[in-house]
């Protein structure tokens, strides 16, 4: 059941970048897995884009995992950004906006675009 409800896909791009795509619904049951994936990529020295477009639900434990990931990426000297294109589910966008996560973690419209408010592309 859990496999059908949510999935986390990782795409490594070159030596220094990666995209993490969240699909389905994500809550406490997948928060630790997300944290593990982010930690692994950050430890490899990769800047990470977390693509929220394919997901239909995230709760505060996922937001907390993203915040923690952002903190650890900063400490490691790499970027962690969110991708929220216009097709992102309204429920996901709403939670991100209400909690202020979008202000705490740089957000971009598409996975390959520079984050809003930041001129530098992800290296």
């Amino acid at each position: 059941m859990a496999a059908a409800l949510n999935r986390i896909e990782v795409e490594r791009r070159g030596d220094v970048a990666a995209t993490v795509r969240l699909g389905g619904e994500h809550d406490l049951s997948s928060a630790d897995e997300l944290t593990g994936r982010l930690d692994e990529l950050i430890a490899e020295g990769r800047s990470v884009v977390v693509d929220l477009a394919p997901t239909t639900f995230v709760d505060s434990s996922i937001l907390a995992a993203l915040l923690e990931g952002r903190k650890r990426s900063s400490e490691a000297g790499v970027e962690l950004t969110l991708s929220m294109p216009p097709v992102t589910a309204p429920a996901v966008r709403r939670v991100v906006e209400i909690t202020g996560l979008g202000a705490a973690v740089p957000t971009r419209e598409e996975p390959d675009e520079p984050p809003a408010g930041e001129g530098e592309p992800v290296r």
């Binding site: 409800l5 809550d27 406490l28 928060a31 709760d59 505060s60 923690e68 309204p90 939670v95 909690t99």
Partner: protein
């Protein structure tokens, strides 16, 4: 239990939160809740259940009980446990709880937390079925004053409260020590005089302290009450009246009634 109500009991495991979320969302959709409301409902139910999973039981899973009741134009959902109650934790607290409760507060039409040690915790949340009904539409924020406004029944408890408030605000206004003492004495005189004169027996005093000045505004008072209060506010220990302490004593009137206004600044008035 009506045919439109739902009761669920699951073990407080993370994987069961999705089960509850979908069960409650299914009921909401069957009751024609508007789509954005269903989205919000899924979030608040998830957050309440997650609190149970993470915080209710020490070492093993326990009962997580959910009830959803159709009441008028709303769905009222209660998430309950039999755990140890909410406990603040300094360390090791994930950001999720800090985000979770504000999320419930932001999205539910109404919510309430009850319980305590030994009684478990119960979170009750209400969500409107119609788009207009759920709406904590933007609530008008009442005008707020810079002053600290104190309202309490007239009596002996006014003095200790007022003197502490005046002390803090006089210090914030950077009054020298002698004037700070004068301000506190003035507060005591105000307290002593506030036995009568208020329309409903509730003493009402506003205190503001900034830019080297403390302003004490007593009222609204009954007609003629400000002058009577001024007469009552004698300072026998100083053989004087409030004028010996305050830089300015005046009576002001507005739509609410009369106010006795006292100002005390850095320089002594005597």
């Amino acid at each position: 239990m009506s045919s439109e109500d739902l009761q669920l009991a699951v073990l407080s495991r993370a994987e069961n939160v999705a089960v509850v979320r979908h069960a409650v969302a299914g009921l909401a959709e069957a009751l024609d809740m508007h789509p954005a409301g269903v989205d919000d409902l899924k979030i608040i139910v998830t957050e309440a259940c997650m609190n149970v999973v993470v915080h209710a039981y020490e070492d093993e899973a326990g009962p997580l009980e959910v009830k959803a009741v159709h009441e008028g134009d709303s769905l009222v959902v209660t998430v309950a446990d039999h755990g140890s109650g909410f406990r603040p934790r300094a360390d090791g607290e994930r950001d999720s709880l800090r985000l979770g409760l504000p999320l419930i507060a932001a999205l539910a039409s109404q919510f309430e937390i009850s319980g305590g040690p030994g009684h478990g915790t119960r979170v009750t949340m209400q969500m409107g079925l119609t788009e207009d009904g759920d709406a904590p539409a933007v609530q008008a924020i009442p005008d707020a004053s810079e002053a600290t406004e104190i309202k309490m029944p007239t009596g002996e408890l006014v003095a200790p409260v007022l003197s502490r408030v005046i002390s803090v605000l006089a210090a914030r206004a950077d009054l020298p020590v002698d004037r700070l003492s004068d301000a506190v004495l003035l507060g005591d005189a105000v307290s002593a005089g506030t036995g009568t004169g208020f329309p409903d027996g509730t003493a009402s005093v506003a205190v503001e302290g900034e830019d080297g000045e403390v302003v004490v505004r007593v009222g609204p008072l009954l007609d003629g009450g400000a002058e009577k209060l001024r007469e009552r506010m004698q300072l026998p220990e100083l053989n004087g009246s409030i004028e010996s302490l305050a830089d300015e004593v005046g009576v002001e009137s507005d739509g609410d009634g009369e106010h006795l206004v006292l100002r005390i600044g850095r320089a002594s008035s005597t």
